[in-house]
């Protein structure tokens, strides 16, 4: 157990701070604090140039092994990078799904040819990925996959038909990894494969979903005879479920520390708003603000405990439920601190607009990547060993 930074870590932290200060300027200053696609002021072309700026400096793939073209940084430094990136106002990372979720899975499960083909594009900030798991009638029931793919033996290509939903940022991505049923008549998590499919082709339609925030970060993706090369399955054909689940494991990874730095920024905005409008004098809001600050500090300790060597296995299961409900509470707190003014949209008030977005967008946190209900089932069944929920029918 060690919360003290080594001298080397302190130097590294200063290095990241300096780099961000020097580079998140000029045209990139417009990206400061941007969340990502779906936001009105988000400039996707600029965000891609920013990804390339990061890549050139070697900040993409810092956690990948060196053999895979990464920097192979130890955990402590990765944490520092993510924290300082967000602290400096670094925008939402268009490359996140490719770099943080897809690439580690590719390194674990991909063929050398697949790795050679895809890792460099991700590492260079030139190719962007989307995740095709959820389906409209499946929701939390991920194994209920109806998207199907058959091998067109003649052309050596997979032909995909179906629909995915809740695909973040697909409107800006180049590729999508699709969990598809490749064995006709198979049930549940059997007979699935994880296929790598180019998005820019006639058989694919991406339609943004308007959210309660007014923006459209998520999309529906329709596959209507979409095609990809026969070799582009990640892991063996028919064993896509295992690979898909392994990929989900990386969602709980080190980037959660960066997410927490973003949360800290949001809390700071709440505190500033409360000080400005007098809400800071209200004893009940004071309790809630203090509680938010204390629980956020605990999210960080919790992540450090889970990520640490020999990390606590029970604790790993509770992290998502804890942070998503923390943020939902923060969103409600933001709205309550804003008070009457929170109901009025003022484009010229960036702090207020951001807090309104925090309030509304936080409602997604307890739903995506496993709803509260799914999380509690997982905790009860896997961490506590309680009986499994019964499923009916096939």
């Amino acid at each position: 157990m060690n919360l003290t930074e080594t001298p080397e870590e302190r130097t590294f932290r200063a290095e990241v701070q300096a780099w961000m200060a020097a580079h998140l300027t000029g045209e990139f200053a417009a990206l400061r604090g941007c969340h990502g696609p779906g936001e009105e002021r988000f400039d996707a072309a600029l965000a891609k140039r920013w990804e390339q700026e990061l890549a050139t400096a070697g900040w993409v793939g810092i956690g990948w092994p060196q053999a895979a073209g990464g920097a192979g940084l130890p955990l402590g430094k990765q944490i520092i990078f993510h924290e300082e990136y967000v602290r400096a106002g670094g925008p939402g990372r268009l490359g996140h799904i490719g770099e943080q979720l897809f690439a580690p899975t590719l390194i674990d499960f991909g063929t050398p040819a697949q790795q050679a083909r895809f890792l460099p594009g991700i590492r260079a900030g030139r190719e962007y990925w989307a995740q095709g798991y959820s389906e409209p009638n499946a929701g939390s029931d991920l194994a209920n996959v109806r998207t199907r793919a058959r091998l067109d033996v003649e052309r050596g290509e997979w032909v995909i038909d179906g629909q995915k939903v809740w695909t973040s940022w697909a409107q800006e991505a180049d590729w999508i990894f699709v969990l598809a049923r490749t064995e006709e008549g198979s049930q549940r998590h059997h007979g699935l494969s994880l296929l790598l499919v180019p998005l820019h082709q006639p058989g694919v339609t991406v339609r943004p979903i308007r959210q309660m925030t007014g923006g459209a970060e998520f999309n529906e993706v329709f596959f209507d005879g979409a095609r990809t090369e026969g070799s582009l399955h990640l892991g063996p054909v028919g064993e896509g479920w295992k690979v898909a689940m392994a990929l989900l494991g990386y969602e709980r990874g080190v980037s959660t520390l960066g997410q927490q730095a973003q949360f800290r920024h949001e809390l700071d905005l709440v505190i500033a708003a409360a000080r400005a409008n007098g809400a800071a004098q209200d004893p009940v809001l004071r309790q809630r603000i203090a509680d938010a600050a204390l629980r956020l500090a605990t999210l960080r300790f919790h992540a450090l405990r889970v990520l640490g060597a020999g990390g606590a296995s029970h604790a790993a299961y509770t992290a998502k439920y804890a942070w998503s409900n923390w943020r939902r509470d923060l969103g409600q707190l933001a709205a309550d601190v804003l008070g009457r003014a929170g109901d009025v949209v003022r484009a010229d008030d960036a702090a207020r607009t951001r807090l309104q977005q925090v309030w509304l967008s936080s409602r997604a946190d307890t739903i995506y990547a496993g709803t509260n209900e799914i999380q509690l089932n997982l905790i009860a069944e896997r961490a506590l060993g309680m009986p499994r929920e019964e499923r009916k029918g096939p």
Binding site: Q211, D282, V284, R340, R363, K392
Partner: protein, 364 residues
């Protein structure tokens, strides 16, 4: 002692439910919410024609004689449909204050009953009234966020300060600037008065009498807005029940999962408690209570309703899953209205602190 609805009360509640189910079904509600100014004028006309704006007035005065309970029953149904009409602003909030002031302008109240929209402008950033040599008043000020202002025919302008004053001003005298809202089902506008001259008769109340009237009207408005919150909460539950019955996950309707059942049940507990609080508080209000009694029961209704709707709207989104987060599904509109109402009526903690002062600080 009996708090079940009597026949007249059941009849008006049912009539309102039936009328709004037709006149303010979801497509009409969405159309109004997404329209330029948010008001459904055809609906308003229908409401006026049914006499709802005079539901509380005694029958002798041409009203329906159903008092605060009648207002609460209508507000509940209007909340359930997020109706884009200034019923709360005009027939409840402004009318309550006008009555509490002693109503020196009968035409104004009659106007409200017949659908002329009267809106209370409060919370000025700065406002001032001064007498002129001609015996008129000159009014200046800015009321930055006035719900219903863009739909107003007349305003009640509240000028706070050591000795507060309340003036009646026709809308054309003022500059009204609509605002972009998060909750588009009820719009606010900023209201500006610049050297507006009104006659001496426009001063409706001032000083201590006005303060007393404001507290009384605040209580009545809170009860009715609480009723609206109950309607919002009920619709959140009903939408969720309908969705949960048909949405299949893991081969079962999600309504069959105990966690879903218990959360819906807890929504009902909160809603039925809040409904009892609102009906009870409205019945108390109709019995001409003392100021502390009205204030206590207004707090009761308001806190219960805000708690119920916060929980119901939260769970409605949550139990709808991903689609609950989308624009297309109505729960987001109910969620936003619940919060807009809450901050409008004042945080429940403020109301609870008033009650705490009654219970804990008075000489025992």
């Amino acid at each position: 002692m009996d708090l079940a609805l009597d026949d007249d009360q059941q009849a008006i509640a049912q009539a309102a439910a039936d009328f709004l189910a037709e006149a303010c079904a979801a497509p009409a509600m969405r159309a109004a919410a997404d329209s330029a100014d948010g008001m459904d004028r055809a609906l308003w006309q229908g409401i006026v024609e049914q006499g709802w704006c005079a539901v509380a007035a005694p029958e002798a005065e041409g009203g329906l004689g159903l008092g605060e309970v009648g207002l609460a029953l209508l507000a509940e149904q209007l909340g359930r449909h997020l109706a884009g009409v200034p019923f709360f602003e005009s027939a409840i909030e402004a009318a309550a204050l006008l009555r509490a002031c002693g109503n020196p302008e009968p035409a104004l109240l009659a106007g409200v009953a017949s659908g002329a929209v009267l809106v209370l402008a409060a919370h000025a950033t700065h406002a001032d009234a001064s007498t002129t040599p001609a015996g008129d008043w000159r009014l200046d000020g800015t009321w930055p966020q006035v719900p219903g202002a863009a739909w107003a025919d007349n305003f009640l302008l509240l000028i706070e300060g050591e000795s507060p004053r309340l003036f009646w001003v026709p809308a054309p005298e003022l500059a009204v600037e609509p605002l972009a809202m998060i909750d588009t089902t009820r719009r606010s506008a900023s209201v500006h008065a610049h050297a507006v001259h009104v006659p001496a008769t426009a001063l409706l109340a001032e000083g201590a009498a006005l303060r007393t009237a404001l507290v009384h009207a605040r209580g009545l408005a809170a009860i009715a807005l609480a009723a609206e919150q109950v309607g919002v909460a009920q619709q959140c539950l009903d939408l969720t029940l309908a969705y949960a019955a048909q949405r299949m996950q893991f081969g079962r309707p999600i309504a069959s999962f105990q966690a879903v059942k218990h959360r819906c049940a807890q929504m009902l507990v909160a809603i039925e408690s809040a409904r009892s609080a609102v009906y009870g508080a409205a019945a108390v209000a109709d019995a001409a209570p003392e100021a502390t009694t009205l204030s206590f029961h207004a707090a009761e209704a308001w806190c219960a309703a805000c708690d119920a709707v916060r929980y119901a709207a939260q769970e409605a989104i949550q139990l709808h899953g991903g689609v609950g987060y989308t624009w297309e599904v109505d729960v987001q509109r109910y969620f936003k209205r619940a919060q807009a109402n809450r901050v409008r009526g004042g945080d429940p903690s403020t109301w609870r602190e008033r009650v705490a002062a009654q219970l804990l600080d008075a000489a025992p």
